[in-house]
Each structure stands twice: as C-alpha cells, then as structure tokens.
C-alpha cells in the first residue's frame, strides 16, 4: 500500500516583542549636531557599537534627500539606524529605514563593567591553645597553632598552616587554590595533609617521618613532605 505523505500546513507564528533603542533627536544646524556625535565617539569609540538607534526628526524639518544624507553620515560613523520617527510618511523612501510610531520613553540602565575590587589580604589566625578533637578551624589566611592539633580535629586555611606542637588531625592548606601554601609542624602524626586539593592520608606518609618536625609543600602536582632538621 502506498502512502503519500501530505504536506502538513505550517501556520505562520507571529509574536509581538519590544526592544529598547537609543533615540537621536538631531537639531539644526545638522553639521554642528554631527560634530557632537563625533566628540562622543572620540571619548568612547565603542559607545554605539551593536546598539540600535532610532532617529527622531520631529525637531527638524528635513527634505527626503537631507534625511538620506543624515542616515548615510551616521552609517559612516558605524551607527546603524533602525528606524525613523516624527516625520511624514512621504519623506521616507523604501531604501531608508522604516517609519516607526508609538515609541515610549524608558530609563536606560547602563551596565558598566565594575572595576575588580582589590580584596584586602586575608588576616592570619593565631590560636594560643591546643585544637581539640572534633574542633574545626577555618581561616581565609594563614593559621598558626601554639599547641597540638588533636586526632579528629581539622584546620582549613586559605594560606599556610603552622603547628607548634604535634599535628595529629587534618590540615588542609591553600584550599582556595593557593598552591604555594605549606604545612609546618613540630611533630607529624597527621591523619591527612592537603594543599590546594592534593592530599596524602596517614597511610601514605612515610613512616620514617613520623614524630619528627616536618613541612609539606607542592611541587607541581606532587606533595612533598620533608623533615625540618
């Protein structure tokens, strides 16, 4: 059995949509007005790039050829005219931008690129007592502990970690992508050492290092641990 597929009719879908455009209101003399545009362009050359512009000619009385000349002058300055308003329909030819009506005012929100704020350097944190099991210390900067860090305790620092005592818990340094951060301790018995996401657990730390003063740092993507003396 032959089946002939009937071409299904595709209804044309039309929807209304509104856009925001700059409106230029040229004034006489036109040469002077164009100079103003040039001055604006000299200050910020990319100001009108990619922005649709509508010409509001209600303040001036221009002939058909004068309108055509104005549109071309703007095009030479890389300003594309989307439409014309405030002028009789017979002044606008088909080669010119179409006549627009019913424009409404709106407030333009300028999205200027914000200057990157210079962040103050994070303050370092000094703890004068031991860090007990179950405690979690968090600092954007360096952390210094005058005492031990208990098994089951955790120190998370954006910078380096210094422990003047035994490090038995977890030390996570440079968590915010600081690969130059280091971990120093008087006695290394850590459960886990991590710098910038690279970590070693107690099992992987060399037994010969245990109970000695040590430091850990990153060399490329390898964590190195070495005794301090």
């Amino acid at each position: 059995m032959d089946a002939i597929a009937k071409a299904t009719r595709q209804p044309v879908r039309m929807r209304g949509r509104s856009y925001v455009a700059f409106t230029f209101c040229p004034v006489v003399p036109l040469a002077g007005w164009l100079e103003e545009i040039d001055a604006t362009l000299a200050r910020s050359p990319g100001f009108f790039v990619g922005k649709p512009v509508v010409l509001d000619l209600s303040a001036v009385d221009l002939s058909q050829s004068a309108i055509a000349h104005l549109v071309t002058s703007l095009e030479q300055r890389n300003i594309r005219v989307l439409g014309v308003e405030g002028v009789d329909a017979d002044r606008v030819t088909t080669s010119m931008p179409p006549l627009l009506t019913g424009g409404r005012h709106c407030i333009l929100v300028q999205n200027e690129p914000k200057k990157p704020e210079t962040k103050p350097k994070p303050a370092s944190l000094v703890l004068e007592s031991p860090v007990r099991s179950g405690q979690s210390i968090f600092s954007e900067g360096d952390v210094t502990v005058l005492g031990s860090v208990g098994s089951g305790a955790e120190i998370v620092a954006g910078g380096s970690i210094h422990v003047y005592g035994a490090l038995r818990g977890r030390a996570i340094a440079g968590f915010s992508g600081n690969s130059a951060a280091r971990i120093f301790c008087q006695k290394i018995e850590a459960e886990l050492l991590a710098i910038d996401g690279y970590y070693q657990t107690a099992e992987e730390i060399d037994v010969a290092l245990r109970n000695r003063p040590a430091q850990a740092w990153l060399e490329g993507d390898v964590m190195k641990i070495a005794p301090l003396n």
């Binding site: 007592s129 031991p130 860090v131 007990r132 099991s133 179950g134 405690q135 005492g147 031990s148 208990g150 098994s151 089951g152 305790a153 035994a166 038995r168």
Partner: protein
C-alpha cells in the same frame, strides 16, 4: 564557696559513675558537704553504685519540671551524713532536661553544699552538655587507650567552648583522671603510657586509678569504693586525687595491690 565539678569523659564505660561516687564519698569523709547528681536520665546508675536505689522517690526531672521540691528529691547517704544524692529519672530521656531548669537547681544547690558533683552521661548530646554547662571544674575520666583519649580530647574542647564559664571568657579548671590503669600491661607496652596520654591531652593529671577487682566488688554491694574498702589500691588512689582537688600537693604514685604476692601464693588453694 560552692564548687560545681563535672565528671565526664565522652566515651562510655570508662568509670565516670564509679569515680563520681568514689570522689564524692572521699570528699564527704574529709568533712565537706557533698551532693552527687546523676545526669544520665533514662539510664541511671549512680543510685545503684551509691546503694540508694531503694530510696528513690523523686528525681532530677521532677525537680526540673517543678513537680517536686529539691529537698524532696535529695537522698541522704546512710553511711556519711554530709553526702547526698540527686538521682536521675529512669523512665524519661535527656530531652526532659532544660538548660533553665538545670541552672536553677545548680544555683539552689550552691547555697547548701560545698561540692556539687555532676555525673555526666556518655556522649556529647544534651545530657552531657547540660551536666557540664554550669561546671567550675571538670574531671575528665580517661582509660589508657586511644579511643578513650581521643574522646576526652573532644570533651576538653567542649568544656572550653560550651560551658557558661567559657562563654563568659573564663576557664573551667580541668583535671585528667586515668582509670583502669594496669601497670603490668603498661610496662609491656600494651597500653598507652601516662606520658603519652598527658602529652595528647595537655591537661594536668589528677590521679591514676589502678585496674582492680575492688571497684567491681564495691559497686556490686552498692558502696563507693572509697567507703567499701578504704585500704584498697583504688580507694587510696581516689583519696589522693581528692586531696589534690582540695589543693594539697600529693606525690603522684600508682598505688598497687598490697597483698598481690600473698594472693598469688594462696589464690589457688581456695579455687
């Protein structure tokens, strides 16, 4: 000036209740007016160790909820007239305790007693938190093994942050009490040494209680070990610890069983 002392540990089964009873009785024997409070609501034991389980009428929860007056719930010890017990409820759970209610009871007891000993439940939940909440001093009971030491470390951290004193910027005075210490096993390296424990916990030592059958024997007859057999090694160790609590300077020794040799010679005959 009344002192509130919490006996705590984090881990269960290390000897908090035994130690609370022994320390409380030893303090009372020295003439101090002492109350021991059981905070282990729902799993009370202190009444058994103190031998007062048949005289419990009202309990801590009744007082917290205002059902009974404090004077109705306090049980006086039969052997020591200045030793009192405030038992826990066995039928309720720790959620029945309120911060405000416990604070009110402690404040009331401060006016009447020299020492208020709070026997903390194991864990770090509501019961344990409220037991330590109003403490001036803390005895952290630790066994010479890693799990107990780590839990003690956690509790010390909480004593430094979650108590009323800590929140006021003051310090809870902390003491380590090592219990179930077996010097023979320690010398063979089968247990953590005292030095290792103190190095990890960085807290002063109050005493070392040897592992002993006397402790079990005493709790089975419902008597604090310091009352049941004052000459036994653990009783002497607890008494020394109490003297240190009172500010005396006592040499730190590990008491041993005096009759060990005789026991060894004669022990078999009875069997």
């Amino acid at each position: 000036m009344a002192k509130v002392l919490v006996v705590t540990s984090g881990k269960g089964g290390v000897g908090k209740t035994t130690s609370t009873a022994a320390l409380g009785a030893a303090l009372a024997q020295m003439g101090e007016k002492v109350v021991v409070i059981d905070f282990d609501v729902g799993l009370r034991n202190l009444d058994l160790v103190m031998g007062a389980e048949r005289r419990v009428v009202f309990d801590l929860i009744n007082v917290v909820q205002g059902v009974a007056k404090l004077s109705q719930a306090l049980i006086r010890d039969k052997r020591l007239e200045n030793l009192w017990l405030l038992p826990a409820s066995q039928t309720r759970d720790k959620d029945a305790l309120t911060d405000e209610g416990v604070g009110r009871i402690i404040a009331e007891l401060r006016a009447k007693f020299d020492w208020i000993l709070c026997d903390s439940p194991a864990g770090i939940e509501r019961g344990a938190m409220l037991a330590m909440r109003y403490a001036d001093e803390a005895v952290i009971v630790t066994n010479p093994e890693v799990s107990s030491v780590r839990d003690s470390d956690r509790i010390i951290g909480m004593l430094d942050s979650k108590t009323v004193k800590a929140e006021r910027g003051e310090r809870v005075e902390k003491h380590i009490l090592i219990t179930r210490y077996d010097s023979a096993r320690a010398s063979r390296g089968e247990m953590l040494s005292i030095d290792d424990i103190l190095e990890i916990l960085a807290t002063p030592l109050l005493g070392i209680i040897p592992e002993s059958q006397d402790v079990l024997r005493a709790s089975n007859v419902g008597s604090p070990v310091t009352l049941n057999n004052a000459a036994s090694a653990p009783a002497r160790a607890y008494t020394d610890a109490v003297r240190r609590l009172m500010g005396e300077i006592v040499n730190m020794t590990v008491p041993v069983e005096r009759k060990r040799l005789m026991n060894r010679l004669l022990g078999r005959r009875a069997a």
